[in-house]
Protein backbone atom coordinates (compact mmCIF):
# COMPACT_ATOMS: atom_id res chain seq x y z
CA UNK A 1 0.00 0.00 0.00
CA UNK A 2 2.73 2.33 1.10
CA UNK A 3 4.80 1.40 -1.99
CA UNK A 4 1.98 2.42 -4.32
CA UNK A 5 1.67 5.79 -2.61
CA UNK A 6 5.45 6.34 -2.83
CA UNK A 7 5.79 5.39 -6.48
CA UNK A 8 2.82 7.27 -7.80
CA UNK A 9 3.38 10.22 -5.48
CA UNK A 10 6.94 10.48 -6.75
CA UNK A 11 5.80 10.12 -10.33
CA UNK A 12 3.19 12.88 -9.85
CA UNK A 13 5.66 15.24 -8.25
CA UNK A 14 8.26 14.52 -10.88
CA UNK A 15 5.86 15.26 -13.71
CA UNK A 16 4.91 18.55 -12.10
CA UNK A 17 8.41 19.79 -11.38
CA UNK A 18 10.24 18.26 -14.35
CA UNK A 19 8.87 21.04 -16.50
CA UNK A 20 10.12 23.69 -14.10
CA UNK A 21 13.60 22.09 -14.13
CA UNK A 22 13.90 21.30 -17.85
CA UNK A 23 12.28 24.34 -19.43
CA UNK A 24 14.85 27.06 -20.23
CA UNK A 25 13.41 30.43 -19.15
CA UNK A 26 14.17 33.48 -21.30
CA UNK A 27 11.76 36.23 -20.16
CA UNK A 28 11.31 39.18 -22.54
CA UNK A 29 8.96 42.18 -22.32
CA UNK A 30 6.43 40.92 -24.89
CA UNK A 31 6.26 37.49 -23.29
CA UNK A 32 4.92 38.94 -20.03
CA UNK A 33 2.04 40.74 -21.71
CA UNK A 34 -1.24 38.80 -22.25
CA UNK A 35 -1.71 37.05 -25.62
CA UNK A 36 -4.43 38.78 -27.73
CA UNK A 37 -4.04 37.09 -31.12
CA UNK A 38 -0.88 39.05 -31.71
CA UNK A 39 -2.59 42.39 -32.28
CA UNK A 40 -1.98 45.57 -30.27
CA UNK A 41 -4.10 45.99 -27.15
CA UNK A 42 -7.20 48.17 -27.38
CA UNK A 43 -7.20 49.35 -23.80
CA UNK A 44 -4.10 50.47 -21.92
CA UNK A 45 -5.58 49.79 -18.50
CA UNK A 46 -7.21 46.52 -17.36
CA UNK A 47 -10.38 45.56 -19.20
CA UNK A 48 -13.39 46.31 -16.98
CA UNK A 49 -16.20 43.78 -16.86
CA UNK A 50 -19.75 44.21 -15.51
CA UNK A 51 -20.37 43.74 -11.79
CA UNK A 52 -23.20 41.26 -12.18
CA UNK A 53 -20.72 38.46 -12.87
CA UNK A 54 -19.09 38.99 -9.48
CA UNK A 55 -22.48 39.03 -7.78
CA UNK A 56 -23.61 35.73 -9.30
CA UNK A 57 -20.28 34.09 -8.51
CA UNK A 58 -20.49 35.16 -4.89
CA UNK A 59 -24.05 33.90 -4.41
CA UNK A 60 -23.16 30.60 -6.04
CA UNK A 61 -20.24 30.20 -3.64
CA UNK A 62 -22.52 30.84 -0.68
CA UNK A 63 -25.11 28.23 -1.55
CA UNK A 64 -22.52 25.75 -2.74
CA UNK A 65 -20.87 25.69 0.70
CA UNK A 66 -24.33 25.24 2.18
CA UNK A 67 -24.88 22.08 0.14
CA UNK A 68 -21.49 20.73 1.16
CA UNK A 69 -22.66 20.51 4.77
CA UNK A 70 -25.53 18.25 3.73
CA UNK A 71 -23.24 15.47 2.54
CA UNK A 72 -21.86 14.17 5.90
CA UNK A 73 -25.31 14.65 7.42
CA UNK A 74 -26.94 12.61 4.69
CA UNK A 75 -24.45 9.75 5.22
CA UNK A 76 -25.36 9.12 8.81
CA UNK A 77 -29.00 10.09 8.41
CA UNK A 78 -30.28 6.56 8.95
CA UNK A 79 -28.77 5.94 12.40
CA UNK A 80 -29.66 9.38 13.83
CA UNK A 81 -32.60 10.42 16.02
CA UNK A 82 -35.31 12.76 14.75
CA UNK A 83 -33.57 15.61 16.59
CA UNK A 84 -30.84 15.71 13.87
CA UNK A 85 -33.57 16.46 11.35
CA UNK A 86 -34.75 19.46 13.34
CA UNK A 87 -31.19 20.78 13.66
CA UNK A 88 -30.63 20.53 9.91
CA UNK A 89 -34.00 22.14 9.20
CA UNK A 90 -33.07 25.09 11.41
CA UNK A 91 -29.79 25.40 9.51
CA UNK A 92 -31.69 25.21 6.22
CA UNK A 93 -34.27 27.77 7.38
CA UNK A 94 -31.62 30.39 8.01
CA UNK A 95 -30.21 29.97 4.52
CA UNK A 96 -33.62 29.94 2.82
CA UNK A 97 -34.37 33.30 4.43
CA UNK A 98 -31.11 34.59 2.95
CA UNK A 99 -32.10 33.13 -0.44
CA UNK A 100 -35.48 34.86 -0.45
CA UNK A 101 -33.86 38.13 0.61
CA UNK A 102 -31.39 37.91 -2.27
CA UNK A 103 -34.20 37.05 -4.68
CA UNK A 104 -36.29 40.00 -3.52
CA UNK A 105 -33.31 42.30 -3.71
CA UNK A 106 -32.98 41.39 -7.39
CA UNK A 107 -29.57 39.77 -7.22
CA UNK A 108 -30.70 37.20 -9.78
CA UNK A 109 -31.84 39.67 -12.49
CA UNK A 110 -29.39 39.32 -15.31
CA UNK A 111 -30.10 42.19 -17.67
Amino acid sequence: MFLAFAVFGLLGLMLIFMNKFLGPSRPNPTKDKPFECGSPYLRDEINPFPIKFYLVAFIFLLFDIEVVFFFPWALIFKEMLASALIVMLAYLFVLVVGFIYAWRKGAFEWE
Binding site: K20, F21, L22, G23, P24, S25, R26, N28, T30, K31, K33, F35, C37, G38, S39, P40
Partner: protein
Amino acid sequence: MLGGKALSSGSEKRSGLSEMKKKQGPPAQFITTQFNSILGWARKYSLFQYPFITACCGMEYMSAACAHFDLDRFGAGWTRFSPRQADMLLVVGTVTQKLAPVLRTVYEQMTDPKWVVAFGTCTVSGGIYDNYAVVQGIDLVIPVDVYIPGCPPRPETVLDGLLKLQEKIQHQEQEWRWKKRKP
Protein backbone atom coordinates in the same frame (compact mmCIF):
# COMPACT_ATOMS: atom_id res chain seq x y z
CA MET B 1 10.59 11.77 -53.25
CA LEU B 2 8.41 14.34 -54.93
CA GLY B 3 9.08 18.04 -54.99
CA GLY B 4 11.94 19.97 -53.49
CA LYS B 5 13.73 18.93 -50.34
CA ALA B 6 13.20 20.89 -47.15
CA LEU B 7 16.38 22.64 -46.06
CA SER B 8 17.21 23.32 -42.42
CA SER B 9 19.18 26.49 -42.00
CA GLY B 10 22.34 26.82 -39.88
CA SER B 11 22.12 23.08 -39.17
CA GLU B 12 24.92 22.68 -36.69
CA LYS B 13 24.36 18.96 -37.08
CA ARG B 14 27.26 17.51 -35.31
CA SER B 15 28.90 20.68 -33.99
CA GLY B 16 26.57 21.16 -30.95
CA LEU B 17 27.41 17.72 -29.56
CA SER B 18 31.13 17.70 -30.31
CA GLU B 19 31.78 21.02 -28.51
CA MET B 20 30.23 19.63 -25.39
CA LYS B 21 32.32 16.47 -25.54
CA LYS B 22 35.58 18.40 -25.49
CA LYS B 23 34.65 20.51 -22.46
CA GLN B 24 33.93 18.02 -19.62
CA GLY B 25 36.03 15.02 -18.45
CA PRO B 26 35.14 11.37 -19.52
CA PRO B 27 32.48 10.34 -16.84
CA ALA B 28 30.71 13.76 -16.70
CA GLN B 29 30.82 13.95 -20.47
CA PHE B 30 29.03 10.61 -20.78
CA ILE B 31 26.21 11.67 -18.48
CA THR B 32 25.60 15.04 -20.07
CA THR B 33 25.67 13.72 -23.63
CA GLN B 34 23.30 10.89 -22.70
CA PHE B 35 21.05 13.34 -20.89
CA ASN B 36 21.28 15.67 -23.86
CA SER B 37 20.23 13.01 -26.37
CA ILE B 38 17.40 11.81 -24.13
CA LEU B 39 16.14 15.38 -23.86
CA GLY B 40 16.49 15.81 -27.62
CA TRP B 41 14.62 12.55 -28.22
CA ALA B 42 11.80 13.61 -25.88
CA ARG B 43 11.45 17.05 -27.44
CA LYS B 44 11.69 15.71 -30.97
CA TYR B 45 8.70 13.40 -30.75
CA SER B 46 6.30 15.70 -28.93
CA LEU B 47 6.23 18.88 -31.00
CA PHE B 48 3.10 20.94 -30.31
CA GLN B 49 2.57 23.17 -33.33
CA TYR B 50 1.07 26.67 -33.47
CA PRO B 51 -0.34 26.94 -37.05
CA PHE B 52 0.07 30.60 -38.04
CA ILE B 53 -2.08 30.12 -41.17
CA THR B 54 -2.71 33.04 -43.53
CA ALA B 55 -3.06 32.02 -47.16
CA CYS B 56 -3.26 29.23 -49.75
CA CYS B 57 -0.71 26.96 -48.05
CA GLY B 58 -3.31 26.65 -45.28
CA MET B 59 -5.34 24.40 -47.58
CA GLU B 60 -2.32 22.17 -48.10
CA TYR B 61 -1.65 22.27 -44.35
CA MET B 62 -5.20 20.99 -43.81
CA SER B 63 -4.48 18.01 -46.06
CA ALA B 64 -1.10 17.39 -44.44
CA ALA B 65 -2.58 17.50 -40.92
CA CYS B 66 -5.66 15.42 -41.69
CA ALA B 67 -6.23 11.72 -42.08
CA HIS B 68 -4.73 11.19 -45.54
CA PHE B 69 -1.15 12.41 -44.95
CA ASP B 70 -1.05 12.38 -41.18
CA LEU B 71 1.29 14.72 -39.27
CA ASP B 72 0.31 12.90 -36.09
CA ARG B 73 2.39 9.88 -37.06
CA PHE B 74 5.48 11.97 -36.17
CA GLY B 75 4.09 13.31 -32.92
CA ALA B 76 3.38 16.76 -34.33
CA GLY B 77 -0.33 16.42 -34.94
CA TRP B 78 -1.62 18.25 -31.87
CA THR B 79 -2.31 21.87 -32.84
CA ARG B 80 -2.20 24.33 -29.96
CA PHE B 81 -3.70 27.72 -30.75
CA SER B 82 -1.93 29.56 -27.97
CA PRO B 83 1.76 30.37 -28.12
CA ARG B 84 2.11 29.55 -24.44
CA GLN B 85 1.58 25.85 -25.08
CA ALA B 86 3.30 25.53 -28.48
CA ASP B 87 6.86 24.44 -29.28
CA MET B 88 6.86 24.85 -33.06
CA LEU B 89 5.63 28.00 -34.84
CA LEU B 90 4.43 26.78 -38.25
CA VAL B 91 4.22 29.90 -40.44
CA VAL B 92 1.92 28.90 -43.31
CA GLY B 93 1.19 31.26 -46.21
CA THR B 94 2.15 34.77 -47.28
CA VAL B 95 3.20 37.19 -44.54
CA THR B 96 2.40 40.74 -45.58
CA GLN B 97 3.89 43.92 -44.19
CA LYS B 98 0.73 44.50 -42.14
CA LEU B 99 1.00 41.02 -40.60
CA ALA B 100 4.73 41.20 -39.76
CA PRO B 101 4.28 42.86 -36.31
CA VAL B 102 1.66 40.25 -35.43
CA LEU B 103 4.05 37.46 -36.40
CA ARG B 104 6.87 38.91 -34.32
CA THR B 105 4.60 39.35 -31.27
CA VAL B 106 3.36 35.76 -31.50
CA TYR B 107 6.95 34.51 -31.88
CA GLU B 108 8.18 36.43 -28.86
CA GLN B 109 5.26 35.24 -26.75
CA MET B 110 6.09 31.60 -27.40
CA THR B 111 7.68 29.70 -24.57
CA ASP B 112 11.20 28.34 -24.98
CA PRO B 113 12.50 25.98 -26.39
CA LYS B 114 10.85 27.03 -29.65
CA TRP B 115 11.43 26.35 -33.31
CA VAL B 116 10.09 27.99 -36.46
CA VAL B 117 9.16 26.20 -39.67
CA ALA B 118 8.64 28.32 -42.83
CA PHE B 119 5.93 26.52 -44.83
CA GLY B 120 5.71 27.44 -48.50
CA THR B 121 7.73 29.65 -50.84
CA CYS B 122 5.99 32.87 -49.75
CA THR B 123 7.40 32.47 -46.25
CA VAL B 124 10.81 31.37 -47.54
CA SER B 125 11.41 34.23 -49.96
CA GLY B 126 8.21 36.17 -50.69
CA GLY B 127 7.38 33.78 -53.54
CA ILE B 128 5.60 35.15 -56.60
CA TYR B 129 4.57 38.32 -54.75
CA ASP B 130 7.53 40.62 -55.22
CA ASN B 131 5.76 43.91 -54.51
CA TYR B 132 5.10 46.64 -51.97
CA ALA B 133 2.80 44.59 -49.76
CA VAL B 134 4.67 41.36 -48.98
CA VAL B 135 7.61 40.65 -46.64
CA GLN B 136 10.24 38.92 -48.80
CA GLY B 137 10.85 35.95 -46.56
CA ILE B 138 9.97 35.69 -42.86
CA ASP B 139 13.61 35.38 -41.77
CA LEU B 140 13.56 39.17 -42.00
CA VAL B 141 11.10 39.10 -39.09
CA ILE B 142 11.94 36.02 -36.99
CA PRO B 143 14.76 33.41 -36.95
CA VAL B 144 13.72 30.32 -38.96
CA ASP B 145 14.87 26.71 -38.42
CA VAL B 146 13.48 24.79 -41.39
CA TYR B 147 12.41 26.09 -44.81
CA ILE B 148 9.85 24.02 -46.77
CA PRO B 149 9.80 25.01 -50.45
CA GLY B 150 6.77 24.62 -52.72
CA CYS B 151 3.79 26.71 -53.68
CA PRO B 152 2.01 24.99 -51.98
CA PRO B 153 4.42 22.26 -50.90
CA ARG B 154 3.10 18.72 -51.33
CA PRO B 155 2.20 17.04 -48.04
CA GLU B 156 5.16 14.68 -48.51
CA THR B 157 7.52 17.67 -48.60
CA VAL B 158 5.91 18.94 -45.40
CA LEU B 159 6.59 15.60 -43.71
CA ASP B 160 10.15 15.69 -44.99
CA GLY B 161 10.56 19.17 -43.52
CA LEU B 162 9.24 17.91 -40.21
CA LEU B 163 11.75 15.05 -40.21
CA LYS B 164 14.57 17.51 -40.93
CA LEU B 165 13.45 19.60 -37.95
CA GLN B 166 13.35 16.51 -35.73
CA GLU B 167 16.86 15.57 -36.82
CA LYS B 168 18.04 19.06 -36.02
CA ILE B 169 16.43 18.94 -32.57
CA GLN B 170 18.02 15.58 -31.86
CA HIS B 171 21.55 16.80 -32.61
CA GLN B 172 21.12 20.25 -31.15
CA GLU B 173 22.74 21.16 -27.84
CA GLN B 174 19.73 21.11 -25.52
CA GLU B 175 18.95 23.86 -23.05
CA TRP B 176 17.70 23.55 -19.51
CA ARG B 177 17.04 25.99 -16.72
CA TRP B 178 20.24 26.09 -14.65
CA LYS B 179 22.62 25.24 -17.49
CA LYS B 180 25.54 27.68 -17.79
CA ARG B 181 24.69 29.37 -21.03
CA LYS B 182 27.52 30.25 -23.38
CA PRO B 183 28.82 33.86 -22.73
